[in-house]
Amino acid sequence: MTETESWANVNLRQVGRPLARSDAPGKAAGRTRYAGDYTMPNMLHAKVLRSPEASARLRRIDVSKARALPGVACVLTAADLPDRKASTDIPGQTGKKKLATDQQVLVKERVRYHGEPLALVAAETQTIAERAAELIDFELEPLPGVYDPFEAMKPGAPIVTAPDNVVGQHKVRKGDIAKGFAEADEIIENTFRTQFIEHAFLEPEVGLAWVDENDVINIRVATQVIEHFRPIAEAVGVPHNKVRILGALVGGGFGGKEDVTVEIYLALLAQATGRPVRLAYTREDSMFGHGKRHPFVITHRTGFTNDGRITAVKVTITADSGAYVFLSPYVLLYATVAAPGPYRVDNVHVDAVAAATNNMFTSAFRGFGAAQACVAHEAQMDEAAKALGIDRMELRRRNFLRTGDKLVTGHPIESAVWSDECMIKAWEALGERTPDAGPVKVGRGVATYQQSYGRITWLHDTSEAWVGVEVDGSVVVRSGVTDIGAGQVSALGQIAAELLGVGLDDVTIYNSDSAVTPLAGTTTATRGLYMTGNAVRLAAEAIRGRFLARAAREFGVEPGEVDLAESKAFLVDRPDTSMAFKDLVALCASEGVHRSELVMFRAPFTGQIDPETGQGRVHPDYAYGAHAVEVAVDTETGEVTVLKSVGAHDVGQAINPDAVAGQIEGGAAMGQGYALSEELCYEEGRLTTPSFSEYLIPTAMDVPRYQSIILESRSGLGPFGAKGIGEPALTPVAPAIANAVADAIGVRVFDLPITPEKIVMALRRAEAAE
């Protein structure tokens, strides 16, 4: 029996209900403490001094004036640090050797990007720390830099990452590409460009560190990943068990708090001063302080038969990795796997490369490469539909992958593929078409996608959780999981409540403390619910089994005849025969029945894919869905208004439908910004848009009322057949908007963001061509 069948008949009571999230009341009342809200007696305040140049040699740095300033406790430069580097590879993995992706903690000699840290200051007040940073005297000798990944790969280019600036490369070779194109009646080829973008979480990076009486460096920090205690320990030169990461509820992450941010600086300053140190990034620091979304250049060549069948796809991807490697090789891999889209293609050829430049480094961002790939494959489908004279949705339908089909990597899809169902529902929800009004033209677009959930299978991902029932019947869940705003913690509570037959209010959850909560792995890669949800499910099921057995004895029946719900144990056939959950628990406690369980959940483990062909397994499973939009474009000003925007996704099983809808709506807004307004601009590596007055994310004035449609195939690998929604919610949005704009004005803008200027220029070019 497959998981699909087993979940289909499960009767759920707590899971699947739109309960108010357990974290919501505290946040509404202003009682929730974020990492930046913690202080300690005798605490120092820190500041990071950053390089104003993108490519330079540090000739001299003199901190004597800063050190002499009254109130300054400590100033550190590279000369004061142990000769260690910070690993920037994926944290928490056990399945493979780490990549050589180290980064200097502070600039020793070579500055590689604008904003790279030169020195750290800790002082009695924030004002003094800032003044001290200004008093640091340094001399930078500008060096030739390289700011474009294509230039970076040319012979003679300045070397940012030895030996040749190439930091990641992936290939797919499947079928016979020449034969595929020979069979094509129509070949469509286009090049797409995407931009650097910023996560723009509202809470800038922040943390507080202190060294305790056991020489443990404690760091309370806004992070997606408490497992960073390992690279932090290695960077400062202590054993792993001497660094403790305490999370807090996080004020947004989206991948931007997936890498280490303030932690190592805090650890070093706390060690050096022996006092608690707080470091809070300003918004500008935050713009310099974490990796951005990779700009991609994607060339897509797709062959079609006249009846709309894809015969071959050839994709080349070039990504700007910026000055350090971080997660670039993995982002590139996701893009490689997603490159052909959610379509059946027998003949595929993908060449993807990421190159180092002196731009800001790039790393994880919701959608993780698959989002960029979607921008290209979905525009291709619309362009092909136009050339072939086939309806855009019909063309997609003729090519969609189905359950059991093989992915581009040769691995079969085990879960449901409901691309078509989602696409139909999203499109229907657009309702009646808004009419054009003079120069304002209305257009519609749809996009579908394939987004993995769960980590790369050769990282050998695991998650641990502990569930226990107190003597009075109240429930405790302990899990290292970080909650970055999507309701990760509350969902775990709902799962435990479901299986133990209690209410969400009866469950208390302790999370994100590397010293006391079992390590759950990271809140990244749409893995939180899949991995930790399963760990909590398994732990709660184990306890449930013991409780049912004890209750069955009491009732004189078989365990299968007993159920737990509404804080009672009762006979399934005769619900009047029951006992209170708390009485059952007290009974179990008095007899020493084990009321807690620690579980490790393991994702599928594999070896790596074949590097020459890209064949093998890359992810545990994939999510499918669609986004549809209607836009109005003013053809005189180029202004775009999003009128309607609907996401329809098969999430497998929604644990909390309100939380799922929240992800879909938030993804719709973020994708809208990606499509239309957001761009970090770098001039010769220098960031010229370091604030929210230049970097424009959607406001309440810019958005329609988003609609979300939840489909539940109960076919996923998560608890109760859940898949995931964090990243899928975003991925199809920007391409759907790009397709709608093209539909409205009859020409396509190939580069994101689709600004009014680009629209006006595209229209003028089209006019001139006529």
């Binding site: 739109p18 108010a20 999230r21 974290d23 919501a24 009341p25 946040k27 509404a28 009342a29 202003g30 009682r31 929730t32 403490r33 974020y34 930046g36 809200d37 996560h199 723009a200 979480f201 509202l202 809470e203 800038p204 509820l249 996080v250 004020g251 947004g252 992450g253 989206f254 809070a280 300003t282 918004r283 970055i484 705003g485 999507a486 309701g487 309100d658 939380a659 809808a661 929240g662 709506e665 938030g666 993804g667 719709a668 807004a669 973020m670 604030s691 929210f692 007055s693 994310i697 959607p698 406001t699 309440a700 004035m701 958005v703 009322r705 988003y706």
Partner: protein, 162 residues
């Protein structure tokens, strides 16, 4: 070190004498005195995370100097609570799932309260305009609009009942 000045403020219904340097912002003052529910997202007036009410009207506390507020009444999101009960705006934000990471929530609720003080029956357009200075990266605002409409309805009912 700079001299400090004393300013008398009423914060969440309590009168407090605040000694602060003349260039201290209200955001700094409030957080220094433990009102951590007032958030800092940019300190430039771009995000609205720091919004509080001054005599019932929302302002960005990061752009307001404490010394200019002698005798004024400040309300933070924690000051909206009615004893143990959540204020209707807070309750509606919880009920409608309008809170994700929650970092923008204190500012959004104060901006909404400021609107409802003036406009008890707001249109969607009124709400958009009133919240346009408050960035939220998580929710896409849809559930926030729903919550503000619902709270407005509840507050109107309370008004007509009293």
């Amino acid at each position: 070190m700079r001299e400090t000045e004393t300013t008398t403020l009423e914060i969440n219904g309590r009168t407090r004498e605040i000694a602060a340097p003349p260039n201290q912002t209200l955001l700094e003052t409030l957080r220094e005195h433990g009102y951590f529910e007032v958030k800092s997202g940019c300190e430039k007036g771009d995000c609205g995370a720091c919004a509080v009410l001054v005599d019932g009207e929302a302002v960005d506390s990061c752009l307001t100097l404490t010394g200019t507020l002698e005798g004024r009444a400040i309300t933070t999101v924690a000051g909206l609570k009615r004893g143990e009960e959540l204020h209707p705006l807070q309750a509606a934000f919880v009920k409608f799932g309008s809170i994700q990471c929650g970092y923008c929530t204190p500012g959004l609720i104060m901006a909404a309260q400021s609107l409802l003080n003036e406009t008890p029956e707001p249109s969607d357009e009124d709400i958009r305009l009133a919240l346009s200075g408050n960035l939220c990266r998580c929710t896409g605002y849809t559930k926030v609009f729903d919550a503000v409409q619902e709270a407005a309805r509840v507050l109107r009912e309370e008004e007509s009942a009293s």
